[in-house]
Amino acid sequence: MASGQQWVLVEMVQAFYEAPAYHLILEGILILWIIRLLFSKTYKLHETYKLTEKEKEDLIEEWQPEPLVPPVSKDHPSLNYDVVSGPPRHKIIINGKECINFASFNFLGLLDNDRVKEKALASLKKYGVGTCGPRGFYGTFDVHLELESRLAKFMKTEEAIIYSYGFATIASAIPAYSKRGDIIFVDEAACFSIQKGLQASRSFIKYFKHNDMEDLERLLKEQELEDQKNPRKARVTRKFIVVEGLYINTADICPLPELVKLKYKYKVRIFLEESMSFGVLGEHGRGVTEHFGVNIDDIDLISSNMENAVASIGGFCCGRSFVIDHQRLSGQGYCFSASLPPMLASAAIEALNIMEEDPGIFTDLKEKCKHVHKALQGIPGLKLVGEPFAPALHLQLEKSSGSRDSDMQLLRTIVDSCLERQVALTLARYLEKEERFLPPPSIRVVVTVEQTEEDMEKAVHCIKEAASAALK
């Protein structure tokens, strides 16, 4: 071997000697040329790109930024709010006119409940208003611990965690688990706080058609095939389904039993947002799981706010300790925010007491929902959207008048003329440019237990008259 190599070397040297001089010179020049080409070009590029200080100053002088915010026209529909003077209870004073409230999400009428107020007051006398700190730094009060254990007990889960803001609850919970590279399957009708949670998680988002389990299964199958192609990646890619119990945007219910089946078939975890269904559905107000008789342990995480049925402030997540405990260090809205004012936690505890003592309240609510749902059918020009047992329904235009703005205008006249006749309704508000799938314009009709049959008759009558006047 060694001698063979040596031989080649010798041959090369010999060839070098034997080659004609012009050949050697030519090759030498060529090599030099290549070297020059290699180095000169990049050098020159740099030279031309560099700006002089003067040029930089000119550029800085030249730059004109856009205004911080674009101007808002004076007649922007959402600029001027309706003003509520006094408490936002069953009889509500809007723009100086007393109306029956068909717009606040105060489903169980606990907002104006004397027992709740008393408990809040007692708490105020003991703790003051604010907590002056996040949960970690002396912002955990005994009432927070009590509320958490009461919520866990109420929902029959291992653990619950409370947030100080309803919106922040699911929006913090999703990114606590789902990270970059994970996959989330979401219903198209998911509410805005879910959308923000998804965005904050930076995961891979797949939307399925609203309540369409076939579409979801199609996506899950696709993903399964994908996983088989790349099993190493699949082993670390977490998968979640995020759905709402009762959808705030469509007032219908998620098919939870089918979702649970899909969960075990495709090994995906389910996060369930129950702000509209907690304290509403089920015999004891436990929400969609109780409504369908689904084992609550099959749902990985349930979140809800305490601002609708509970009529306090804040939100909570509940589920198995294995899942929930993680948020105590990873839920951004939990760790980095001041904790819930203790008086609001006390109010929520008392609300839970009332809900536990009298489950009849939920049957009552359901009856009223059914009644209103039935009565609102068949208004000419308007279409009622939602389940018969949903307490927050939508009235949409049967056919659009052409543009979203004019539809909104039309619905607004209906709302205004109802206000005129002392029935408080409101338009469902959305950020039109920000919503992933913008729901059609609608009037919200909220049913609460405080509404009497008479109130409901009156409201339905008003809506009918206003609609026929506006939609001639």
């Binding site: 730059w63 930024p65 911080l68 808002v72 959402s78 600029l79 709010y81 003077s85 006094g86 606040s104 907002l111 104006d112 709740v116 107020k117 809040a120 007051l121 105020l124 003991k126 703790y127 003051g128 208003v129 604010g130 907590t131 700190g133 730094f137 912002g139 955990t140 009060f141 005994d142 927070h144 803001y165 919106f167 688990y177 805005f192 923000k196 904050a200 699949a234 082993r235 670390v236 890619t237 977490r238 090994k267 342990d297 601002e307 609708n308 009529a311 306090s312 402030i313 198995r320 294995f322 993680h326 951004q332 809205g333 001041a338 004012p341 109010a347 408080a424 508000r429 959305y430 950020l431």
Partner: protein
């Protein structure tokens, strides 16, 4: 009293300069002019020079002394700290190994059987730190209290029989613990007095909930009253309030900037600002903490080069800073930031979560502290949680800004509006600070807080602790460095009936674990003295007096004395 030029280059520089402005009537003018000439002779043009030039008729850029210190970590301490983490990590692996082979009992909650074959919800290494380091000293956090979070607080006693995996409440209450942890700067966390009384009245009348959003049917007259008051308090055209401080940032920054905009963010900005910036979809660039050279460099580069790849000019540039940085105790160099912002036509978002109420002769925050015009700050943001003893946050500024937010803020459209008693607490406490209640209580508290702060910081420094941050910041971080001392300090202090906050990684850089004291106007001199003597005692016990500058008083000493006089006046 020395700065670490290696890590924080701007500090030393500006610190020296602004000390000149201490007695403006005597030498401030002269020196600032002198400095102006000196620096103009260099060919490099700084925007602040122009600012100084314009302002040199009456004063320098800073109207008051700006003394901020970040003493360098002693080398030996740094080495020992790293060793400490090294040992903890080795033991962590060892114990994980033991847990894996079931030799050590594992307390961690388990995934349920049916879901064992799912993709694990947590990566194993994700929780290594929690399991093996945090768990050892977990008793220092989340301590439940059962009283007003005022100057003294009652803690629920808890015990753990399984090394902090679970806690058991003994039912006993540890009474009258001096509270150096709550952000109760002006002492408005009270359960009696005018604020609590009017909040109680409102609770009876309104209840606690609202059950609707601002845009739908949750816009109470009290909300609007409060917003008008906030605008008046801050000296701006208009304001809007939101139910949660964290969400005020994370839900409104996306309304202000979007794709094609640039956000320049201080590296130590709060998580809510970072989240808001991320949600906005804008490009984010981070400048060194409170470092104006770094900020200017980024500004220049951004405008000169435009957006990456496309090189189109940025639509707008938003500088995001905080008033007081809650972990560092530093105060933003606002006069310089404003000068830069004007020079480069950027917009300024100022988060006054900790500084509103707590700084400035009238308690109006960092703008008041520097004697600046609030109209120079484009977006004034702050929280009601801290100085006002309530909850929520606000954004204030020009009328157009607030009108835009009223129609486009995520909060206004989708989140339930603020609870009426909380609103009432804000109104009454703010009126008190403004003196609109006809008393001087608010005014006295603002002054008391400033005095307490200066006194507490001075005493700690004299004892030889390393204290970070600005002389006037009521947030006082005291360096502990070593991981074992985090737990030890918290526990030893509680044993002596003082509640403190200790923080370590990831809230701070890995070797800069610290204790943080929050001074309140409600602290009496006796309480502070008691706290100080206990801190000194524990400091000796744990050898925390790291500072190497106590033996030879530094140059700044006489200035310090002057400053206390100034504030006492």
């Amino acid at each position: 009293m020395t700065e670490s030029p290696a890590t924080k280059p701007a500090n030393g520089d500006v610190c020296q300069r602004v000390k000149n402005g201490l007695k403006p009537e005597r030498n401030g003018l002269l020196k600032s002019l002198h400095r102006c000439h000196e620096r103009q002779s260099k060919h490099h043009c700084h925007p602040e020079e122009e600012e100084v030039h314009a302002a040199s008729h009456h004063d320098s850029l800073y109207s008051r002394p700006f003394v901020e210190s970040f003493e360098e970590t002693p080398m030996l301490v740094a080495v020992l700290t790293y060793m400490g983490y090294g040992i903890l990590t080795i033991f962590g692996y060892l114990r994980d190994f033991l847990r894996h082979w079931k030799i050590e009992r594992c307390h961690i909650a388990r995934e349920k059987e049916e879901q064992k074959d799912f993709v694990p919800l947590y990566q194993d290494f994700e929780n290594f730190y929690t399991r093996n380091l945090y768990m050892r000293i977990r008793d220092n956090w989340n301590r439940p209290i059962c009283s007003v979070p005022g100057a003294k607080v009652d803690l629920m006693e808890r015990a753990s029989h399984d090394y902090n995996w679970t806690f058991e409440y003994t039912g006993r209450v540890v009474r009258d613990v001096i509270n150096l942890g709550s952000y109760n700067y002006l002492g408005f966390a009270e359960n009696f007095g005018p604020c609590a009384d009017s909040a109680a009245e409102v609770t009876i009348k309104y209840g606690v909930g609202v059950a609707s959003t601002r845009q739908e049917i949750g816009n109470l007259d009290r909300h609007e009253d409060m917003e008008k008051l906030v605008a008046k308090f801050l000296g701006v055209e208009s304001a809007m309030a939101f139910g949660m401080g964290f969400a005020t940032n994370s839900m409104n920054i996306p309304a202000l900037t979007g794709k094609g905009c640039l956000i320049l963010s201080d590296e130590l900005n709060h998580a809510s600002l970072v989240l808001g910036a991320r949600l906005s979809g804008s490009t984010i660039r981070v400048f060194k903490h409170n470092n104006m050279q770094s900020l200017e460099k980024l500004l220049r580069e951004a405008i000169v080069h435009g957006q990456p790849r496309t090189h189109r000019p940025w639509k707008k540039i938003l500088i995001v800073v905080e008033g007081i940085y809650s972990m560092e105790g530093s105060i933003v160099r606002l006069p310089e930031v404003i000068a830069l912002k004007k020079r480069y036509r950027a917009y300024l978002y100022l988060d006054e979560a900790h500084s509103i109420g707590a700084l400035g002769p009238r308690g109006r925050g960092v703008v008041d502290y520097f004697g600046l015009d609030p109209r120079d700050v484009d977006v004034m943001m702050g929280t009601f949680t801290k100085s006002f003893g309530a909850a929520g946050g606000y954004i204030a500024g020009k009328r157009e800004l607030i009108e835009y937010l009223r129609s486009h803020s995520h909060s206004a459209v989708y989140a339930t509006s603020m609870s009426p008693p909380v609103v009432e607490q804000i109104i009454t406490s703010m009126k008190c600070i403004m003196g609109e209640d006809g008393t001087t209580i608010g005014c006295d508290r603002v002054r008391q807080l400033a005095e307490n702060t200066v006194y507490f910081r001075k005493r700690l420094r004299e004892m030889g602790f390393i204290i970070y941050g600005n002389e006037d910041s009521p947030v006082v971080p005291m360096m502990l460095y070593m991981p074992a001392k985090i737990g030890a300090f918290g526990r030893e202090m509680l044993k002596r009936d003082i509640g403190v906050v200790v923080v370590g990684f990831p809230a701070t850089p890995i070797i800069e674990s610290r204790a943080r004291f929050c001074i309140s106007a409600a602290h009496t001199k006796e309480m502070l003295d008691r706290a100080l003597s206990v801190i000194s005692e524990v400091g000796d016990l744990l050898q925390l007096k790291y500072s190497r500058h106590r033996i030879q008083p530094s140059m700044a000493r006489p200035f310090d004395d002057n400053m206390y006089e100034d504030i006492d006046d």
